[in-house]
């Protein structure tokens, strides 16, 4: 039976290796036919900022791979509203991440959902396994 797995991201993208490793594990784990979602809270929301360009600091911009998650059937990305607000951000500051819904004539749909802290707590509780990054 497929388990519900959540990858909980709480770190900014380039100052440590956590965020890049999380995405790596998500992409590997996606091959195992589990029910996978990602959650972004605290500084984790910075991972999704539009306009990141790492060319001048000599590292790979792994955040581009967020856009490929749909191809790996990772279509649920939850972003906590309170974390955005605390950082002066809104959904408009985030990159656009979509997937093609095979159950709906491959229509392109947004993968990202903005949820409240209370909703995030419920989502966390509903998982079988939570991986923390």
């Amino acid at each position: 039976m497929a388990k519900r797995l959540m990858y909980l991201n709480r770190r900014a993208p380039h100052g440590s290796v956590y965020a890049a490793e999380s995405l790596e594990v998500v992409l590997i784990g996606a091959a195992f036919d589990q029910q996978v979602c990602m959650a972004f809270v605290d500084d984790g929301v910075f991972q999704l900022l539009e306009g990141q360009d790492t060319s001048a600091i000599g590292i790979k911009n792994f955040t581009r791979a967020f856009k490929a998650l749909g191809d790996y059937d990772v279509t649920e990305l939850y972003v906590e509203q309170e974390s955005l607000t605390e950082r002066g951000l809104s959904a408009a500051d985030l990159m656009s991440i979509t997937y093609e819904d095979e159950d709906d004539d491959w229509n392109e749909k947004p993968s990202m959902q903005i949820v409240s802290r209370a909703q995030m707590a419920q989502l966390l509780e509903a998982q079988d396994v939570v991986f923390n990054f």
Binding site: G15, D42, F46, D53, A56
Partner: protein, 98 residues
């Protein structure tokens, strides 16, 4: 004997920037780099606090802001790696708030 203070941690995750601002005296400068650049976002509360420091110049390392998609507040100076070195030379010491 003025000091260049550097902060490389997110102000939302650590108290490094807060402590740095407590210790930065007139004539000192603050350079935000790595995850410290999130404090420099246009219109952020931290940018306002930095601006209110008396006679303290504030800079951000441009490549780190660009990497993180951070638009830098107009009150904060942007330097490149050469500018970083020039600041380090200009001040008698560098205090790194980790």
């Amino acid at each position: 004997m003025a000091t260049l203070h550097t902060v490389n941690k997110s102000p939302f995750e650590r108290t490094s920037l807060q402590r740095c601002m407590d210790f930065a005296l007139p004539g000192c400068a603050i350079l935000l780099l790595e995850d410290g650049v999130y404090a420099a976002r246009t219109g952020s509360d931290y940018a306002q606090q930095l601006k209110s420091l008396a006679d303290v110049r504030v800079f951000v390392l441009g490549p780190d802001a660009q990497a993180r998609g951070v638009s830098v507040d107009a009150t904060i100076g942007v330097v490149d790696y050469v500018g970083f070195v020039e600041l380090a030379v200009e001040f008698s010491k560098v205090q790194s708030w980790l």
